[in-house]
C-alpha cells in the first residue's frame, strides 16, 4: 500500500475511532488508572506493532487470518482486529501531536511502517467482515462473525428455555464478564458479542463469548493464576431471542431494543473450544463457572489491591498490548516475542502517566466535524 493509498484510509479510520471513543467515554476505576495505562499502551503499540505484524506476515497472509477467524470462539474478531488502527494509530497521533502536530515529524521509516500496518489491517479486516467491509461501523452495526454453516449447526444445538432460566444464565455469564474485566485490568479483551443472525420471523441468534479464562492451565497473564479454577478456558453462549433488535459496535459490545432482553430469551446453547474443535456444553456447567467467577473475582481484587499505582499502570498497559498475541498465536510465534513494555515506554511514558491521567492529544478525538474535515484525528502520513 502506498502512502497515498494509506492516506485515503486515514479519514475513515479516524471517524470510526472517534465514534468508538466518544460514545464509550473514558472509563476509570479505583483499581486501575485506566485512561493513563491505555495511553501508555498506545505509545508502546507504536513501538512494537510493525515488528509483530512483519513476523506474522512471514508465516501467513492477513487474508488467510481473516477468513479462518470466522468461527465460534475466535481470538481474532471485530474488536481485536480493531486493535490495529485503534492502538497504533492513537499512539502515532500522540507522537505527532507532541511534535507540534506536524506529520512530517514522523520519521520516513515510521511512515512506511504505518503504511504497512494499515495495509495489513485492511487486508485482514476485508477478509473477515462480510462484503469486504472494514469494521462493524461499516457493516450496518452488525457483527457477523460466523458463516451460515456454523449458524445452521448452532441452531440444532439450541434448547428451549423459560425467561427465568434465561435470567439465571445471563447472571452467570455476567459474573464471568466481571471476572474478565478484572483479569484484563478493566479492558473488554476477553469478551466478544456478535450477531445478529436472523433465523426466523422476528427471531435472531446473538452470541456472548469469553476467552482466556483461568482453568488451571497456563495463566493468560502473570497475575491470572487463582486458587479458583474454571471448568473450561472459554465459553460461548448463544441466545435465541424473539422480538429483539440487536446492534453491535467495534468493541464487540451489543446493545438491544428492548434494553433488557431477558424476557425475550426463548432458547440457549453453550459451547467451548478445544483447539480446532467446538463442543456443546451442558447447562449444568454454569454452576461451576459461577462459583469460579465469584471466587476468582475476590482473589484477583485482593491481589490487585496490594499493588501500587505503578504496578497497576504497567499491568494495564502490558495487558492491552498483549492483545496482539492473538496475531502471533495464529502462527505459533507468541513465545518468541518479548511482550514487556519497551525501554522507551518504561523510561518516558510510564513516568509521564504516573503523573498525568490523560494524553494531551486525546481532545483531537472530540473536536467538531468541521475541525476534523481537513485534519482527521489520526493525522495523514506526510508525503515528501
Amino acid at each position: 500500500m502506498s502512502i497515498a493509498e494509506a492516506n485515503k484510509l486515514i479519514p475513515h479510520i479516524s471517524r470510526v475511532v472517534d465514534y468508538q471513543v466518544t460514545s464509550r467515554g473514558l472509563l476509570e476505576s479505583q483499581l486501575f488508572p485506566v485512561t493513563a495505562y491505555i495511553c501508555v499502551s498506545f505509545y508502546n503499540s507504536y513501538d512494537i506493532l510493525f515488528n509483530i505484524l512483519k513476523k506474522v506476515s512471514e508465516k501467513t497472509t492477513p487474508e488467510r487470518m481473516g477468513r479462518e477467524s470466522r468461527k465460534i470462539l475466535s481470538e481474532l474478531h471485530a474488536m481485536t482486529i480493531f486493535y490495529i488502527p485503534l492502538y497504533y494509530m492513537c499512539g502515532r497521533m500522540g507522537e505527532i501531536f507532541a511534535n507540534k502536530g506536524d506529520p512530517r515529524s514522523e520519521p520516513k521509516e515510521k511512515r512506511e511502517q504505518t503504511a504497512f500496518i494499515l495495509d495489513f489491517w485492511k487486508r485482514l479486516a476485508s477478509s473477515y467482515f462480510p462484503g469486504g467491509k472494514l469494521t462493524v461501523y461499516d457493516s450496518n452495526w452488525e457483527n457477523l462473525a460466523l458463516n451460515q454453516s456454523d449458524i445452521d449447526w448452532v441452531k440444532e444445538q439450541i434448547i428451549d428455555i423459560t425467561p427465568e432460566e434465561g435470567a439465571k444464565i445471563k447472571r452467570v455469564m455476567t459474573n464471568l464478564e466481571v471476572y474478565a474485566f478484572l483479569d484484563e485490568c478493566e479492558a473488554r479483551a476477553k469478551l466478544c458479542d456478535h450477531g445478529p443472525y436472523k433465523i426466523g420471523k422476528d427471531e435472531i441468534l446473538v452470541f456472548s463469548e469469553i476467552l482466556h479464562i483461568y482453568d488451571g492451565g497456563k495463566p493468560h497473564f502473570p497475575w491470572s493464576a487463582t486458587e479458583a479454577k474454571a471448568p473450561y478456558s472459554n465459553i460461548a453462549c448463544a441466545y435465541r431471542l424473539k422480538g429483539v433488535k440487536a446492534k453491535f459496535d467495534d468493541f464487540s459490545t451489543m446493545t438491544t431494543e428492548p434494553v433488557d432482553y431477558t424476557e425475550k430469551i426463548t432458547g440457549v446453547a453453550l459451547f467451548t473450544r478445544k483447539g480446532d474443535k467446538v463442543e456443546p456444553l451442558d447447562l449444568d456447567v454454569l454452576e461451576a463457572f459461577n462459583e469460579f467467577a465469584q471466587s476468582a473475582q475476590a482473589e484477583l481484587y485482593m491481589r490487585f489491591s496490594e499493588w501500587d499505582k505503578r504496578q497497576r499502570l504497567i499491568a494495564g498497559a502490558f495487558a492491552y498490548c498483549y492483545g496482539y498475541a492473538r496475531y502471533t498465536n495464529f502462527v505459533g510465534i507468541t513465545d518468541k516475542i518479548d511482550w514487556n513494555l519497551t525501554e522507551r515506554t518504561m523510561k518516558k511514558y510510564v513516568p509521564y502517566f504516573m503523573e498525568n491521567d490523560f494524553d494531551p492529544a486525546i481532545p483531537r478525538l472530540f473536536r467538531s466535524e468541521e475541525e476534523k474535515k481537513d485534519d482527521p484525528s489520526l493525522y495523514y502520513i506526510a508525503q515528501d
Binding site: S23, S29, Q30, L31, T174, A298, M302
Partner: protein
C-alpha cells in the same frame, strides 16, 4: 420520615431498588464491603468502570455512579445483572450519605431518580 429526592440520572435498566447507601472512595472501601456483606447495599461510586466494584457487583441491590453514561462498562454490567445502575448523576445533598436508607426509582425512558429516607 419521608423519602427525599437527591439525584437524577440515566438508569441502566428499568428496575427499582432499595437498600443502604455505601459511599465508595477507595479500594479498601470495597474490601470492607465485601467482608461485611454487600447484600442490601447500594454503593455510590465516582467511576464508571466495572473493576472498582467487581467482587460485590453481583450481590448489591443497585449502584449510583457520579459519572458515565449508558454505554459505560458499569452500566452494561448492572443491566446484565438486572440491577439498576443510576449513571452520570450529581447528588444534591450535603449531609452524610453513608448508611442512609435509599431507593432508586426507574421512571421509564432510561431515566431514574435517587431518594433517601430522611427523618
Amino acid at each position: 420520615m419521608s423519602y427525599k429526592k437527591i439525584a437524577e440520572g440515566m438508569i441502566s435498566c428499568e428496575k427499582n431498588a432499595e437498600g443502604q447507601l455505601v459511599v465508595i472512595k477507595t479500594v479498601q472501601d470495597v474490601v470492607s464491603l465485601l467482608k461485611s456483606g454487600p447484600q442490601g447495599k447500594i454503593p455510590v461510586v465516582q467511576d464508571a468502570g466495572t473493576t472498582t466494584l467487581a467482587p460485590v457487583l453481583s450481590r448489591v441491590s443497585g449502584v449510583v455512579c457520579l459519572s458515565g453514561g449508558l454505554g459505560a462498562h458499569l452500566a452494561i454490567v448492572t443491566r446484565e445483572f438486572g440491577i439498576p445502575g443510576l449513571m452520570g448523576t450529581e447528588i444534591r445533598y450535603n449531609g452524610e450519605l453513608n448508611g442512609k436508607k435509599a431507593k432508586i426509582v426507574a421512571l421509564g425512558g432510561s431515566k431514574g431518580e435517587l431518594y433517601i429516607l430522611e427523618e
